[in-house]
Amino acid sequence: MAVRVQEADFDVGAELERLTTGNKRIGGLAVFVGLVREMHVREGYHRDRVDALTLEHYPGMTEQALEAIEAEAKQRWPLEATLIVHRHGRMEAGDRIVLVAVGSPHREAAFEACEFLVDWLKTKAPFWKLEETPAGEKWVGAHADDDQAAARWEKK
């Protein structure tokens, strides 16, 4: 179980190797890697080309928020291993931003918990994207569909 916030890129293969080595109870490993997209294609928002972005965060609060989300996932699913690596700072199109990996004895739990972690970290961890477009810098606004994705995991 680990959370890291760092400026440097990460090596997906090496991270997964480290996460699973020595744990033979893991039967399925679900992995999500978020990348900087070159184009914004969401209808209804803006369609400027995004060349790069800078991800600002709130040191101290970010780690606590990610650990809380990870703990929540552990409570809901039988997990053997979890890893969240989130970058901050300037990244260019095609660069990796975030890695979420979840190992469980069974694939259903791994898939579900991985999706849960990605949905919640988008709306509950203090990160803000500043995009560089040909028209200048632009702070990214929150997306209603991200809120809806996060909300479906709320317990009623």
Partner: protein, 83 residues
Amino acid sequence: MKVRYFAWMKRTVGVAEEEVAPPADVTTVGELVVWLRQKSGGHAEALAEGAAFGAAIDKRTATFDAQLAGAHEVAFFPPFTGG
């Protein structure tokens, strides 16, 4: 106490953080927002009524009715857009 601003709110206010000493009748996050608005035009704009922003007390998400007693650091920020 220290007040911090993030993302576009930092640009609008003009500083990333500042030390403030609100009067004793400012006891909640919401009351602090109202008090901070009168510091400058940038404060008033960033912390405007109806603007979409959240708050944290000592690095934990806080609602606007949360008590400030004992707080060292209060932060204001726009909705999160990570991932």
